[in-house]
């Protein structure tokens, strides 16, 4: 696959109320500037956005909204995959036969009280088996965490270390919701319970935002060397092993094979930490450690900023924020920025290969992308 990233851009992920149009324009402008292109150079757009009922827009036909916004009549398609929409949009763009393709994720989900947002996000779960039984996303992932703890001896302290790491990273990212805000390990451990064993700091934070990437056939310094998407049954309880998300395993294997690299070759990664347990299970599913040893990887500091493979230097979904569809695109923004050595205080030392993993629902859709820094 000869696909490259030309440029990236994103808004600050925040609680501010902005229209999706306004946020989209900002992210697109930044990505075009970074690509040294203008909108007339774009031949197609792949957009991911959720059809939310909780903001004032309620705009279902988003490709046409973008046509109005960009004043272009080019092919624009929407790829929704809930929290994994951004990664799925990027995966789709890589397979389109156009030269310069804009990938954008944009969402304005934070537009109501927590119970309403909880229900809105819960709609990504199975309707009669999960939603009707009160299984919201914290609850769903808490059940997974409990099973992992029972099976492998993972502790809540391990999960707290993931939260602490991501908050530390996020405090250094000007685009993150928690920029400039440090959180102590003690605060994390003493936080109120949301869905046992999860407390507040095990859960990612809902924000509004947009992120954009320009994919090109023109050679740049960032080559996409691996790309895969896989799906799995919608509810975790239906799967043979609730502590492994097979979509992530499959996508990871395929992406590594295509890239011709091993998990140990990855220098920096953005992993979908919608909940702390998701990041921990992903270490195992992607092959960064053996099954059941995710907790050890965290305790050993392997994934810290000064570790062998820093994970979620952006702050992740936990501290940068999780606006649903833009998340997967924002992960790519971070990895490109890391490979281009422009991450400031959170810059990893001379990374050459980066990985993003974006998950929709509780492992229902997973994308894995691997990027290599090359001579541009």
């Amino acid at each position: 696959m000869k696909r490259y990233v030309k440029g990236v851009g994103m808004t600050k992920f925040s609680v501010e109320s902005r229209t999706t149009q306004d946020m989209a324009i900002e992210a697109i402008s930044l990505a075009l500037d970074d690509s040294n292109l203008n909108i007339n150079d774009i031949e197609a757009v792949v957009v991911s956005t959720v059809d939310t009922k909780v903001n004032t827009e309620r705009q279902r036909h988003y490709p046409a909204v973008l046509s109005s916004l960009l004043k272009r009549k080019m092919p624009i398609i929407r790829v929704p995959a809930v929290c994994g929409g951004g990664g799925a949009a990027f995966w789709t763009a890589l397979r389109l036969k156009y030269n310069n393709i804009l990938v954008i994720g944009v969402d304005n989900v934070l537009a109501g009280p927590t119970p309403i947002i909880t229900k809105e996000i819960m709609n990504a779960g199975e309707n009669l088996w999960e939603q009707e039984e009160g299984l919201n996303f914290p609850g769903q992932n808490a059940l997974v965490a409990q099973q992992h703890m029972l099976k492998y001896g993972t502790t809540h302290d391990d999960l707290a270390l993931i939260s602490y790491k991501n908050h530390l990273h996020g405090s250094m990212n000007p685009k993150a919701r928690f920029y400039g805000k440090k959180v102590t390990l003690e605060e994390i451990k003493k936080a109120p319970i949301i869905a046992s064993p999860f407390n507040l700091y095990d859960c990612s934070i809902s924000v509004n935002g947009a992120a954009a990437v320009v994919v090109s056939r023109d050679k740049t310094d960032i080559k996409v060397i691996g790309s895969a998407l896989a799906t799995d049954y919608l509810p975790p309880f239906e799967r043979p092993d609730i502590t492994t998300w097979q979509s992530s395993v499959e996508a990871g294997k395929k992406a590594f094979k295509e890239a011709g690299v091993e998990p140990s070759d990855i220098d920096v990664a953005e992993i979908h930490d919608a909940f702390t347990i998701v990041e921990l299970i992903s270490y195992e599913d992607l092959g960064f450690c053996k099954k059941g040893e995710g907790g050890k990887l965290v305790r050993d500091g392997y994934v810290n900023l000064d570790g062998k493979m820093p994970v979620n230097t952006s702050g992740g979904l936990k501290a940068r924020g999780h606006p649903i569809s833009p998340t997967g695109v924002a992960q790519i923004v971070e990895i490109v920025d890391q490979l281009r050595d422009r991450c400031g205080d959170r810059q990893v030392n001379n990374p050459k290969i980066g990985l993003t993993q974006n998950i929709g629902g509780a492992g229902g859709t997973a994308t894995v992308h691997i990027f290599r820094k090359i001579a541009g």
Binding site: I116, L128, E133, Q140, A142, Q146, F237
Partner: protein, 376 residues
């Protein structure tokens, strides 16, 4: 009595959480696998409310049956890992079963009837089923008893030995042509499918019955049956607050008799409260598949997707618990019936089986136009 259902291919053993008609892999026949030896293998205590689950904290259990099939289950009670999860049936007058529909209405109807002690039927029994088909409306509108509930009940009865020729579906409409109501509701198809009888009650003979100060004119045929099923759809009502077990009985009366009562609200409350006393004993099956919320059918009410079936031997118990589940204000006629000893009105003295009351309570759009609802 608690069950976990899967649809499994007889040839290749692949399983689905959804009812499907044929295996896509081997074209094998699909049968149901119903697990009834259920253990708790995990749990989470959820502290975040949302509109369908307003009471917190609540627990969601991860259950597993003897086949290794799993499902989440909402409960207010505390369980430990390894506990058995079961429901104990009760034939008592103050018992009500609430079952949740997992894509299979027949199973939910069957389970509800099993939980109230099952129904003994033989080929000679004459059975009357009284749905709510008073207003013409397609099943998706929630205006009338859903055809799948009728299908489920008929299947249940026939499997237990009932002769379709001895089963009669009877209803009338005070405001619309009966044929139109029967056709739009799709009940005419059910009648044809099962070879049961259909009666327009308005064309039957009415006889006089007195109870307290009220004179009722009741369809004579009501007294010709061994077993009566009162099958209202659970919908809000601008006048009464709710159309449940009691309201559905009013169409056993003549139209003129009905009109006498509705002209005087106080009289209507009194008459409605004692109406069960002039009828043979009956079982109520509340159709909560698709009900209605808001002001109900008369004033732009909208469908309410409750996904529940209620079954009770006493109409007071039925309507009181439906009122509690839907968080409606007091229903004067149900309260009066309770005070007159027609049935148990105190929630604490009602035995709720299948699902706990607090685990199924939900906020719905209230019938604000109701003239009968007392202000607290």
């Amino acid at each position: 009595m608690a069950k976990i259902i899967r649809w499994i291919c007889e040839k290749c053993n692949k399983k689905w959480i959804y009812p499907i008609s044929r295996c896509l892999y081997c074209n094998g026949e699909i049968k149901k696998q119903i697990g009834m030896k259920i253990k708790v293998i995990g749990f989470t205590r959820i502290h975040i409310p949302c509109p369908p689950h307003p009471i917190v904290p609540y627990n969601v259990l991860l259950l597993e049956d003897e086949y290794g099939n799993r499902m989440p289950k909402k409960t207010i009670k505390d369980y430990n890992i390894g506990d058995t999860y079961e429901d104990i049936p009760s034939k008592e007058e103050n018992a009500i079963a609430i079952t949740k529909i997992k894509y299979d209405v027949y199973e939910a109807v069957k389970e509800a009837l099993e939980l109230i002690g099952d129904i003994e039927v033989d080929r000679t029994n004459k059975i009357l089923i009284k749905p709510n088909l008073s207003i013409p409306g397609y099943p998706y509108l929630g205006i009338g008893t859903h055809p799948e509930v009728m299908r489920g009940l008929l299947r249940y009865l026939i499997e237990r030995g009932a002769n379709p020729k001895n089963i009669t579906i009877a209803e009338q409409s005070f405001f619309f042509p009966f044929d139109k109501a029967i056709a739009k509701s799709r009940i005419n198809q059910i009648v044809k499918e099962f070879g049961v009888n259909l009666v327009d009650l308005s064309k039957t003979e009415f006889i006089e019955k007195k109870e307290r100060e009220f004179v009722f004119r009741v369809s004579k045929i009501v007294y010709d049956f061994d077993l009566i099923f009162n099958v209202p759809v659970i919908k809000t009502d601008m006048l009464l607050g709710i159309d449940g077990a009691f309201e559905n009985l009013t169409r056993f009366l003549s139209k003129e008799n009905f009109n006498e009562f509705v002209r005087d609200i106080k009289k209507a409350i009194g008459a409605l409260a004692v109406l069960p006393n002039i009828l043979p004993r009956f079982i109520t099956i509340g159709d909560g598949t698709i009900g209605m919320q808001g002001n109900g059918p008369a004033e732009h009410g909208e469908p309410g997707f409750y996904n529940m079936i209620f079954a009770a031997r006493n109409p007071v118990v039925h309507d009181k618990i439906v009122q509690e589940v839907l968080c409606l204000r007091r229903l004067p006629y149900v309260e009066l019936a309770g005070k007159l000893g027609i049935g148990e009105y105190e929630v604490s003295k009602i035995k709720v089986i299948g699902n706990e009351l607090d685990a199924v309570r939900r906020d719905i759009k209230q019938p604000i136009g109701s003239k009968l609802i007392k202000k607290d």
